[in-house]
């Protein structure tokens, strides 16, 4: 009896979660579908065409913005992953005065609304002469990614503890040997996961970039936003489709790596 009620419960549960998934995915799927429809006004019937993807190739503004986005995302990934990993190491291996304060300082970048951090950076950068531009956008993205890198790498470090490094030391390994032969291989899945995450955060970030982009310079999300506000065309659907698929692929890779980490 218990098993029958458990079973119907399970089917109902999957049905409910299915409806939630429908709500989450239908708009995205419709948008993707419309990228392949010939009509410039999203009119039906559906007429398969790759014209909007082809148009992207000739849209210099979008292409430049896309290149900026990728470059910033790569730079952000390198900088945030490096700095964040070092900080996670410090937190995991040292107990020192002020450590909890430093850990608390990681919270504002991810909890204060981006609108506030973005405008605050705009004020400060303009005022001090750092100015707006790709470098300012990059700085902002690094700030947003760092806390996540510290958390992801930190939890990986926590999962295997200090005993392995201590063991290496008793066996005669110096700091360098311990790092390269024990710590680094064990941290690697966490670092890869954090790097993917940092890339995705930067590549998708709109608000900070929006406030820090001067006229004539933009990233892909900023460009898309202004295109949407100007009145949109299926060309936006085409580029959006590419972005969504790219970030989903990245998150799948992230999920794989962070799970890979959990298994060992």
């Amino acid at each position: 009896m218990a098993s029958t009620s458990g079973r119907t419960g399970g089917i109902f549960a999957i049905g409910y979660v299915g409806v939630i998934l429908l709500f989450l995915y239908v708009p995205i799927l419709v948008m993707m579908l419309m990228a392949f429809n010939a009509s410039p006004l999203y009119q039906l019937p559906f007429d398969f065409d790759l014209v909007w993807f082809k148009a992207l190739a000739g849209n210099d503004q979008l292409l430049t913005a896309a290149r900026n986005s990728v470059l910033i995302a790569i730079a952000n990934t390198v900088i945030a992953t490096t700095l964040g990993t070092l900080t996670a190491l410090a937190f995991a291996r040292y107990h020192f005065f002020g450590k909890s304060l430093l850990q608390i300082l990681l919270i504002p970048p991810i909890t204060i609304p981006w609108l506030i951090t973005g405008t605050a950076m705009l004020i400060f950068f303009f005022w001090t002469g750092i100015g707006r531009g790709l470098h300012a956008i990059l700085l902002g993205h690094v700030a947003l990614s760092l806390p996540y890198v510290v958390i992801i790498v930190g939890s990986r470090l926590k999962s295997y503890g200090v005993a392995l490094e201590e063991a290496a030391a008793t066996l005669g390994a110096n700091g360098w040997q311990t790092f390269w032969r024990v710590s680094a291989p064990l941290m690697a899945p966490g670092i890869v996961a954090a790097a993917l995450f940092a890339f995705a955060i930067s590549f998708d970030q709109f608000v900070i970039s929006y406030f820090l982009a001067p006229v004539g310079v933009s990233t892909l999300p900023v460009e898309i936003y202004s295109a949407i506000r100007k009145g949109f065309t299926p060309e936006i659907n085409a580029i959006s489709t590419i972005i969504i698929l790219a970030s989903m692929a990245m998150m799948l890779a992230f999920a794989r790596f962070s799970k890979f980490g959990g298994e060992r």
Partner: protein, 358 residues
Amino acid sequence: MSVVGITKVAKRYGRVTALEDVSMTIADGEFFGLLGPSGGGKTTLLRSIAGFIDPDDGEISIDGKPVKNIPINKRDIGMMFQNYALFPHMTVTDNIGFGLSVRHRPKAEIEARVTELLRLVRLEGFGERKPRQLSGGQQQRIALARALATNPRVLLLDEPLGALDKKLREEMQFELKQIQRNVGITTVFVTHDQEEALTLSDRIAIMSEGKVLQIGAPRDIYERPRTRFAAGFLGTANFFEGTVSGREGGLTRILLAGGTAIFTRDEAPEGRSVTIAVRPEKFTVGGATPAPASDAQVNRIAGRIAGEVFAGNSVTYRIDAAGRIVTVYMQNRMTERLGPDAPVTLTWDPAHSIVLED
């Protein structure tokens, strides 16, 4: 091989004293146990010898040379960690060979040594496995092999058998002792398990609250505990508090609170309040009307059975005697069962009445 000297070592964490005035010398080739409750300071001491902890005071030396300024990786120690700390991303071979490899030894030498060690711990053919493919007992032996690989001067074991289940633990105790004997390495190990300490150690240091209470061979500590704590932590003991009331025929007489007198061979000044410890297996339980006192040099008190726990080969009695409950272990070879409330007489040799220091 090596002698470890520990002189007046102290370590404080804020207001908590982890080690206080700890001194001992561990002889060459000795298997030395640090026994005590958790938080007693034994792990702090072991980690100080390893170099993970820098004592505030005192000196630790190996072969007469202070190790204070020698970093962990140059101390030439082998350590086995509580959960073994085997490198999960390396094979068994790479784990065992790690110490030699970071010392840049030739490949052939490492290979030969790993093979030799795998044979020593009886795990030939397991070299290509990853640690997670091994059972707990196998991991334990690999951890031991890894710690021995570089022929360190001192072997440190942190709760070496703590992660194993009871049956495996008993097997491994024997094996660990065997390997230590064969290799002849000076070994310090930490345990909170009294049985483990008794069976493995050549000598034991009992530690509590950062202090060393007693150091000695297992038998000496068991038979002659100096403090209540040592008597109670290593084995079980019955305590009798009383006042010294004189000497008779080479024995010291102690008057207990209820008026009963008991005797000990130990000497103590008259009038002093003392505590006497008697191990539960030292008693003999007799009938209510004992044979006439042919031998005055025997302690004899009357009591009543208050409870029994039957354990097959032995029986534990709780006996109400001299105003307290006395625990008595008996071999199960009585012909008649002693029922509840049965009147009995407890006798024991005054040599087994130990006067404690506290």
